[in-house]
């Protein structure tokens, strides 16, 4: 498993990186942690002429928390997310989700930026980002722009990011205390059979706000506004949960693979979502 040849670039500024992207357009790809891209190149399923390694770009690093807002540099590794006290304080669902990704070695390399930019329906972070209503900061030749995670995913491996743009940071607001990321997988290192991100805000014993997203059950992450609405104003009792689950199951569109047939995935999606809601509610 040997990748094809390419030119390697390691710019030390965002401007320089965007410059390279601009020069080579379609033929260039950003290399972050490489743990999605390099396997594809080794299998010769991705053919890249120019690889832009962004590890030296300071603007893409670091976690910056201010009040209830947090900005996470795209090059923050999953390991750093798990390790970070700021993340644990402001958006703990991220550490919970990161712990479910791959294995320790992969988490040292894989970045949050790569995870969300990749556009692979198997990636865990996109669903979490939609659940959190995060925004992605993109830098292109015309400067920066922001895109909501909920508007970012168009199809498998197709996103709102232009070829000449680099994702530099992710912005998130602190989430409610009721959170859970629940994932079923075959083993450590596997992508989700089904996974659910749930955030619940509780006020006076009732759901004041709920956000629900699921992973690897469609060619894009599935954030279901309606499923969240089903919980709104309820005490998260069995009927409300059943309604939310039903709504979500109507929104997902799983395909058969080695993890199992569609019918199984539909069923497991419901189970996992119930568990995530229960856990989020118990923390709310």
């Amino acid at each position: 498993m040997i990748p094809g040849g390419f030119e390697y670039h390691r710019p030390d500024s965002l401007a320089a990186a965007v410059g390279v992207l601009r020069e080579y357009g379609d033929d260039a790809r950003v290399l972050a942690g490489g743990h999605s891209l390099i396997p594809m190149m080794k299998l010769r399923m991705a053919d890249v002429e120019h690889l832009i390694d962004v590890q030296d770009i300071a603007e893409m690093k670091g976690i910056c928390a201010e009040g209830d807002k947090i900005a996470i540099g795209a090059m923050t590794s999953q390991h750093e997310l798990i390790d970070s006290p700021e993340i644990a304080r402001v958006v703990p669902i991220l550490s919970e989700a990161a712990l479910q990704i791959a294995d320790p070695q992969v988490r040292y390399c894989g970045t949050i930026g790569g995870n969300v930019a990749n556009g692979d329906p198997g990636n865990d972070m996109p669903g979490v980002m939609q659940c959190l209503d995060a925004t992605f900061l993109l830098h292109g030749p015309d400067g920066p722009r922001e895109v909501a995670a909920r508007d970012f995913y168009e199809a498998a491996y197709t996103t709102a990011r232009d070829d000449e743009e680099i994702l530099t940071a992710i912005r998130i607001s602190a989430h409610a205390p009721g959170y859970a990321y629940e994932k079923q997988k075959r083993k450590i290192g596997d992508y989700a059979t089904a996974a659910a991100a749930v955030l619940i805000e509780k006020r006076d014993g009732l759901v004041a706000n709920a956000s629900i997203a699921m992973t690897n059950l469609s060619d894009v992450p599935v954030w279901s506004e309606a499923a969240g609405a089903d919980l709104f104003g309820t005490d998260c009792g069995p009927e409300a949960v059943a309604a939310a689950v039903d709504t979500m199951l109507g929104d997902i569109d799983p395909t058969e693979d080695n993890r199992g047939p569609v019918e199984f995935k539909q069923h497991v999606a419901g189970i996992i979502l119930r568990r995530a809601i229960a856990r989020a509610w118990s923390r709310a």
């Binding site: 040849g5 390099i38 590890q55 791959a102 294995d103 070695q105 390399c109």
Partner: protein, 167 residues
């Protein structure tokens, strides 16, 4: 496929020794270590970043060197299994793997020990569960892990005892 065969120079500090290597940008770190630097301790088991046989320590992180271009490691400090031992003898982990029969064919062992080394640096007193989770990026086909886990826990105990004695 592009026909690019440009070469580049890369500086690596491996096991404390500085090296300069000329290679293609696409050269994978595992191949540079094994073939250019003759460090054949790290092995190739899957090439798809699942087995961890190729694990090395890079700037204080455990990484799978089959899924890293050597170019990405330009300027990095790397420790391989060959550099784990102390000048005065085997590392406690190496001794404990032997003592507790934590290896059979030995193919996974360099990756296992290198990974366990970083695990214990970060968490010197792990529980059994933490060891199993922390070692879950390394596959072994021979041992069933039970003795590997035992060995890592025993090494953690010994290192704590050594530290205490030194204080």
């Amino acid at each position: 496929m592009s026909e690019t065969t440009s070469q580049m120079n890369i500086k690596l500090t491996v096991n404390g020794e500085a090296h300069e290597v000329t290679c293609e940008p696409r050269a994978l770190l595992i191949h540079v270590l094994r073939e250019d630097l003759n460090l054949t301790g790290p092995h190739i088991g899957c090439e798809t970043s699942h087995c961890g046989a190729c694990t090395v320590d890079l700037n204080g992180k455990s990484v799978k060197s089959c899924t890293l271009f050597a170019a990405q490691a330009d300027g990095a400090e790397i420790t391989t299994i060959e550099g784990i031992a102390n000048p005065d003898g085997m590392h406690v982990l190496q001794e404990m793997f032997r003592e507790h029969h934590g290896l059979q064919c030995g193919y996974c062992t360099p990756g296992m020990i290198t990974r366990a080394y970083r695990l214990l640096e970060e968490n010197p007193a792990p529980t059994e569960e933490e060891v199993r989770f922390g070692m879950s990026g390394n596959l072994c086909r021979c041992t069933g892990y039970q003795n590997i886990v035992k060995a890592v826990l025993a090494a953690s105990d010994q290192m704590a005892a050594q530290k205490e004695a030194a204080e």
